[in-house]
Each structure stands twice: as structure tokens, then as C-alpha cells.
Amino acid sequence: MSVPTATVGGPHAAPRGFWRTHVFSVDHKVIGKQYLDLALVAVVTGMVLSWLMRFHLGWPETPIPGLGTVAPNAAPGGVVTPEYYLALMTMHGTIMVFFVLTTAPFAGFGNYFLPIQIGASDMAFPRMNMMSFWVTLVAFLVLISAFFVPEGPALSGWTAYAPLSAVGKDAGPGQGLGQTLWVVSILIFCVAQLLGALNFIVTTLDLRTKGMSLARMPLSTWTWFVTSVIGLIAFAVLMPACILLLLDRVAGTSFFIPAGLVISDRLQPHSGGSPLLWQHLFWFFGHPEVYIAILPGFGIVSHILPVFARKPLLGPRVFIACLIAIAFLSYTVWGHHMFLSGMNPFSATLFSVPTLVITIPATIVTLLWIGTLYGAKLRFTTPALFCLGFVSVFVSGGISGFFLAQPSIDTYLHGTYFVVGHFHFVMGVAAMFGIFAATYFWFPKMFGRMMSETLGKWHFWLTFIGVYCVFMPMHYLGLAGNVRRYSAFTDDYLKPLIPLHRFITVAALFTGAVQLIFLFNLIRSRLRGATAPANPWQGTTLEWSTSSPPPHDNFGGPPPAVHRGPQEYGVPAGGGPTDYVMQASP
């Protein structure tokens, strides 16, 4: 890591010219939008991959129209081969976790709104900020390029378990160049995230405007700050782990490959490594990564719900305390991903206890949201609906987590669709709902135009019903013993479950199609939406004290001083024309 003195920035003049303004921009707002655009491309890619998987699971022998032409080797005649199924699964997971769930809620919205919410004119290190986006883009391109190499992408899942991920071609077609590209991509991604997290932390600590004490920071800023601390530690561990894995693959070392390993009838020329070491290093990153994906959603919901409930969040300090507790505990639970790994069974208990303990702050936060709604006259706008949806899917997915936290139950369920349903709800869909809520909420600020509420509500209800139809039945499949990661369920005991798989597939295709409403709404509102006022939702935080969209330096002059907390809603009725007081109001 280079010394950041080289990239110290500060308030900078508005750029001139197309390239400096829109492409190689050091403006945090442009960079935030670039991250969101990247996440949009990534999420569409990831979703198409999941459709291919779902279709194959429902109808294993039916050709997928056009696939035979696009990928003649991987899907001869349009029927997905088992290897290609694993490649699709690996890429779906990697794209979604790294390039959507990490990129959009944290890097995207965080970049755009963290500086504005604390009253700064930009990030602490604007050039480093620009670099972190472009490095992320390179990581994405390297990952996607695996589709275009002869043997296709990696097969070892988004967790890239060793020794499968470490031994090379013998482990399968995509385990050659495809897996190397995967490791390189994630390595590059780590660099980008570390630069980004460092920037977030320094910005929050050093660039707050006058009067913006830590206690007065909006809760969304709090979660971005805590998330960046988690990310800094997590990616700092994944990066050396990826270096070791890369060395195993290209330099002949044996960090993760034990002696005497025979794969595809070939004795692997390695000795002395430990596959379990990779799992420990990966999950020490991997579990906090779950919180990197979901905590910005916590912040978005805690920021948005009070706006539409017209009352402050119940116990904002409790919320912050829970946030910090979750961040701390997230580093003590990684072993619960490894109950089946062959590690010492006693350590399973050791990891089970903090796993159950971490549900306490998560539950408290949920109760704070519900308590905030109690007695509120909620304005049912689209962002508010997505916040409610967030709470719903987070609770649904969280409850199945209680079961999985017990090693004795997890032993049965870990390899099944129960886990697939669990993490898609609690991490995937919940985080996506957070992203949707944030998009509908902040779109007017970012583009100066309102999004269509009618389309937004259709989008919400159809998506909400759709995701429950997709992921709820997976819990049942798991309890029925349906193993995951198989490309087809042709075993006798699994055959009766195929109709349910078809139902899920139809629901997944439907939910995916519903997202076209969102895309249409995005494009249409961008071009023809009603002009947005500076403060369309009657919010109190600093982003609503500036024009929509904000000027280059965010406030068109020196940033305003802050005189109160972020949630002065429902101030005594009859006192004046409004029921809220802005943070910047004297």
C-alpha cells in the first residue's frame, strides 16, 4: 500500500470537458453513480446466470433456446452440463456478493451520500476514490473474462474451497485459467475495497462540518462508517489469502494442498499444505462480508423509515450500539460456516455461541424498526414499502439462522437448500430491498427528477410476492433433504421434489421479469420524470439542504453548520407549518 500523502485532495475546482466530468472524475457523486452503474450491469449478469441454473434445475433435459450457440462446449445443444452448472453457480455467487451486494449499497450510495450527509465537499482522498472505482471495474472485467477463455469459468463456488481451487486443471475444466482469473479478480477487488474503506473512514473522522458530532451523524452514515471498518479488516485478510492461493496455483507452493492428494488419477506434486487453512482465512473474511452487504441496508432503513413515519427512530443510540456489537461479533462467528469441515467438534460449540449472541443485537435493531412504526402515520411511498419489505425478508431469513446456528441441526441442513433459502433471504434479498429503497428515496436527489410511484408500487408488490415464492419453498426442500450444488435431481428420493423446483423456477423467472418495471422506471424517470424539489420527502439531513442534484461542491459554497440531530421529525404539532426541523436550521 502506498503512502496516502500522495493522494491528498480536498475541495477541487469543477472539472471541464466530458472525460474529466463523467468518466475519470474525482467527484464522489460521479464515482458513486459509476459504482451503481457497475452494480446494475453486474446484477443483470448475475440474474441471467441464476435463470439458466433455475431453468436447468426445473427441466434438466430441456434445451435452453440459444444457449447452445452461445456456449457450444459448455452446453451442447443448449443443455447445461454439470460442469457448466457449477461454473454458472460460481459466477452467480461471486458477481452477486462482490460486485452487487458490496458495490451498490456500500460503495455506490455510500460514496454519493456519505460526504453530503456529513457536510463535506468531497471524500478525503478524491483521486484514491477514483482509483478504487476503476480498480473495481478491472476486477469485474477480469472475472467476466473467464466466460471467454476456452475452458470456461471456475467451478469451485464463490468460496473457492481448496484443494479444488488450488490444484489446477485436474480438478475440472474451469479450474485452469478460469480459476486463476477468479483469484486475480478477487485480489484486485480487495485492493479496491481497502482503498475505498480507508477513504470512508478518514472522511468520516476528519471532514465533518461544524456541529456534526458523531452523535449527530445520520444513521446511514453511521452504518457506512462501521461497514468500512468491517471491510477494512475483512478484505485485509482475504487479500493475503488470495495471494497464497494464487501462489499455490502458479508458483507451485503448497499452502492449501496436502501431501498424497490424488485428483483425476493424478498424484498432485504438493506436500504439507492444509485445505482447512483456506476455509478459516476465507470465512474470517466471508462472515463479516455478510455484514458488509447487509449493514448499509440497516442504515438505509433506519434513515428512510423515520422520514415516512414522521417520527424519529426509536433508540438511535441503541441502534448504534447494536451496530458496533454486530461489527465486533461478526469476527467471532466464522467457524459456523465450517461445522462440516472436519474441524474439532468442540470448536463448533465455541462458534455456535457467538452466532446465537449476534442475533440479539440484530433482533434489537428489528424491534427498533417495528417500535418506530408503532403509532406512526406511515406514508406508504415506494421507499417506505421497500423498507418494510426489508424488515420482512430480514426477519424471515434471520429466523432460519437460529436453526443453522446449532451445530447438531446444521450438520443435517448445511448441505441442503435450507441454507440457500436462508442466505438468499437474509443477505441477498434483504440487501437488494435496501438498494431498491435507497434508489427510490435518493433518485430525486441524484438526478433531480422523481421516479414514478405507480410503477414503483407495482415493482414492490410483485417483487415481494415473487421472492417469497422463490426462497420460502427452499426451506422446505432443504428439510426434505434436497442437497444443494447438484446440477440435476435425478435420484429417486429427489424426484418427487422436482415439481417444487419447477414452481421456484417459474417464480424466479417471473420475479426477474418484474425487474424490467424497475429498469423502465429508472430510464423513464431519468428522462421524463417530474422535476424534483430540493426536499421532496421532507427529510432533515444535509443532503436535503442542497439542490437536486447537488452542485459540484455539494452545497454551492461553504458547507452549512449543523445545529441538531438527524431525526427531528414530529416536533410538536401546531408549532408551525412543518413537522420537522432540518439539521442545518439554526
Binding site: 503512502v3 473522522l205 501462489l247 487453512l277 478459516h280 439542490s547 408549532g575
Partner: protein
Amino acid sequence: MTTIASRPPAPPPPPAPPAVPVATTTQPSGPSRAQTGVLVGIATITMSFAALTSALVVHQAASPDWQHFELPRILYLNTLVLVASSGTLDVARRRIARGTGLSWLSLTLVLGLLFVLGQVFAWQDLGAQGLFLATSPSSSFFYVFTALHGLHVLGGLAGLSYVLYRVSRMSGPAAQSAVGAAALYWHFMAALWLCLLAILALRI
């Protein structure tokens, strides 16, 4: 681009809760920001090496066929050079405020380069014994630790060169802070190396 931020209508003061701006640590100035950045960077690097060293310690303890080897002696000489460079940088940092100390800064750079060169000699020493990156997990860990630390030292040298370039053009508190941020990182490199050396000496 819109030009002027539109302000909402000011609410009536009586119902509003007390509004007192509190003093915060928010005087943004480049160098202090750099210092915070370096501190956060140090935390990151610490975490990366904590992962690597614990991987080494756990792996070595659980591995029945671990191959120990003697560390090259030149490592201890390199350690002295690096610690000395930390000292010369501290002298430079104190003198920069008075507009002198550039030669001490240059001396630090030379010592830093000597350290990296010494580490390369240590690799050659090991190579002569037939111990390479892929020979055994113990040698792999040794090469990875020294290489990654060396890369961070090179990064520090690049930073120091930049500071030298800047300091030769300016003086006063700004120069002092720039040197301060770089010095923080450089001292950390020396401390990190001492920890790595201790772990390597005990476990390899």
C-alpha cells in the same frame, strides 16, 4: 448544474429543541488527513500480517512434516539497518521544522534501499541452500513474508521520496506534517519487521 442550494422555510424557533453547535475535530487540513489515512492504512496492514502470521503459527503447530531451517544471518544485519533508518528519519523529522534535515531524509532513503537489497541477499543465500519459494511450506511462508514486507517497504520508500521532493520545495508546519505522516508509516515498517523476524526465528 444548479447553482444555489435551496433552503427550506425556516421553522419557528420555539418548539425546536435546543440548538447548540458542538465543537468537533473538523478542521480539515491536508496533512492531518494524511496522518489519519496512514493510521488506518497501518491498521489494515497489521490485519493482513496478523492473518499471515497466524496462518503460519497454526499451520506449523498442526503440521507433522514441517521442515525447519536456519534463517540467513544477514537478516539480523538488515534489521539493524532498518531500525537505524527509523532513527535517522526521526532526526530528519525534528530538523525539517527548522528547514534542515534533508540530508537525514536522504540517508533514510539510502538505508531503506540497503535493507531491501539485504533482503534480496538473504533470498540468494537461501537459494544457494536449495530452499526456494515452492520447496516446503516453511520456505514458502518465509518468502511470502519477506516479499510482502519488502513491497510495503518499497511503497514507503516511494512515499519518502515524494515527501523529500515536496519538502525540498516548502517548509514550515505543512512540511513537518507531511514528514510526520511518512515517518509514522516508516516506523511501523520497522516495528512490523521486528515482529515478523521474531515469529520467523521462532517458528521457521
